[in-house]
């Protein structure tokens, strides 16, 4: 319902994914944030078949968010997006001939949801085929709907518990700094998650886990 920022947090020195998440939880609890349950964001990839040769295969991403449990979002990277009912997954199964599910590419972020004053913070472990690949942090500031206004405020807040690793302004905001969010279908939030998941997917193996 407000301005959301999704960013990836690098692992702490010599710590695993779970340990870094625990450190973040402790920092949030020190700020007297209240835990309010769990959240899940996941993304499945579909290849569009039947393209003319020479054109790169278009990838369709179908995402779900536990904030809006009854809907799902289908989008092309950088292209149009569609908000649909939960039955859209079943529809994709029916459209098997046109869109093929890339089963190994499902990425999801799962973790706990904290509330602090007007902020909603979600810290989750990003996993791809049950191997932890990184940590995602989503911060939402509910009262404000214009991203350009409250970016400094959110940066200050994120500094208080993320320390020095603060992200810069998400690219989604750069296009419309004065624009209103569209709160109902969280398109901007999911676009940010998609960017994060794509980065994680390209990052084949997590450097810390080989040790």
């Amino acid at each position: 319902m407000g301005v959301t920022c999704v960013c990836q947090v690098p692992l702490a020195e010599g710590k695993s994914v779970q340990q870094t998440i625990d450190i973040l939880h402790k920092k949030l609890e020190q700020l007297s944030a209240v835990k309010q349950g769990n959240f899940t964001v996941d993304c499945e990839t579909y290849h569009a078949t039947g393209n003319a040769s020479g054109q790169p295969t278009k990838l369709l991403y179908v995402m779900h968010n536990s904030e809006t449990p009854l809907s799902c979002l289908a989008l092309f990277e950088g292209g149009p997006c569609l908000t649909a009912d939960g039955n859209f997954d079943v529809l994709m199964i029916k459209l098997k001939s046109h869109f093929q599910n890339a089963k190994g590419h499902k990425v999801e972020s799962r973790g706990s949801r904290y509330r602090y004053c007007d902020f909603l913070i979600k810290v989750g472990a990003v996993t791809m085929s049950s191997s932890a690949r990184g940590i995602s942090v989503e911060v939402e500031y509910c009262p404000c709907v214009v991203p350009g206004d409250c970016w400094n405020l959110m940066k200050e807040f994120m500094q208080s518990f993320l320390g020095p690793s603060i992200p810069e302004l998400p690219s989604v905001f750069a296009t419309k700094p004065e624009g209103l969010y569209v709160p109902a279908d969280c398109v901007d939030t999911m676009t940010q998650y998609l960017e994060l998941f794509s980065k994680v997917r390209k990052q084949q193996v997590l450097p810390g886990t080989t040790r």
Partner: protein, 297 residues
């Protein structure tokens, strides 16, 4: 004079009519008493019956007489005078049980008291507004002569005037839109939308601000009151000027407009954006600078 004469005649006939009603009541009571007592003790049955019937006839005739008298008098009493219409509050005065529900007399007292209060408050404000540097002796003499002057009442203003003032103020501020509704009677309810930051509902009583509720742009009106609502209530208590209510409304709107940068300005005292998770929600009444609620003193 003719009214007084008419009133005199009416009152005379009125008191006679009341006496006639009492006489009628007593004669009717006599009828039923004689029926209840039955026949008196006499030697023969015919004697007893005859006495009873005679008594009964006498009683009925006296009832008839009294009733005729009452009818004659009722035609003379006439209709009650309508020269003092009391409207709705006058209907309260028709309640006969004065001991248990003295509503009308209490209403009159309350009305007189509030009139006197308003008058005294006007006098007090004019005295208190004077500068303390001026020589008080001359001023007191001058105002003592002017004291009997009636203060104009700013509480009863035509709705059109209120509409005009509000629309003028709305035009003054381009990024603030004010919509006026009158859902119940003549009190105006304003919906002030400040850019994309907040919405405020301001309830007015003629041109005086009575109450405000401030909500976020996409929040439900019925959610809990936040800090800014408290500050707005403080502001409406701070900006007070009984003689010039439109100046008050303008100052209040200017103060509210300073909230357009609620999320953008850091606190003037500590320099940070957030203090315990809240942005600077306090705006100084004179300088309109932003402070955190905990930083303002």
């Amino acid at each position: 004079m003719a009214d007084a004469m008419n009133v005199g005649v009416n009152l005379e006939a009125f008191s006679q009519a009341i006496n006639a009603i009492q006489a009628l009541r007593s004669s009717v009571t006599r009828v039923f008493d004689s029926l209840k007592d039955g026949m008196k003790n006499k030697e023969t049955l015919e004697g007893r019956e005859k006495v009873f019937i005679t008594e009964f006839q006498d009683n009925l005739q006296s009832v008839n007489r009294d009733l005729n008298e009452l009818e004659r008098l009722s035609t003379l009493v006439g209709r009650p005078s309508e020269s003092h219409p009391l409207h709705n509050s006058g209907l309260l005065s028709l309640d006969p049980v004065q001991d248990k529900t003295p509503l009308y007399s209490q209403l009159l007292q309350a009305y007189k008291w509030s009139n006197k209060l308003q008058y005294h408050a006007g006098l007090a404000s004019s005295l208190l507004n004077q500068q303390s540097l001026k020589r008080s002796a001359n001023q007191m003499g001058a105002s003592a002569k002017r004291r009997p002057k009636v203060q104009p009442s700013t509480l009863v203003l035509p709705p059109q005037y209120v509409d005009d003032v509000i629309s003028r103020i709305g035009r003054m501020f381009p990024d603030m839109s004010i919509e006026l509704f009158r859902p119940n009677g003549t009190s105006a309810v304003l919906l002030v939308t400040l850019g994309k930051v907040l919405k405020a509902i301001v309830v007015m009583r003629s041109l005086f601000i009575d109450r405000t509720i401030v909500r976020g742009f996409s929040e439900n009106v019925y959610s809990e009151d936040g800090k800014v609502t408290d500050h707005a209530t403080t502001a409406l208590l701070h900006y007070q000027l009984p003689q010039m209510p439109d100046v008050v409304v303008r100052s209040f709107m200017t103060w509210l407009r300073s909230y357009i940068k609620l999320f953008q300005t850091p606190c003037q005292r500590c320099g940070k954006f957030l203090q315990e998770g809240l942005p600077p929600t306090w705006r100084d009444f004179r300088t309109l600078e932003a402070f955190h609620d905990t930083c303002r003193q």
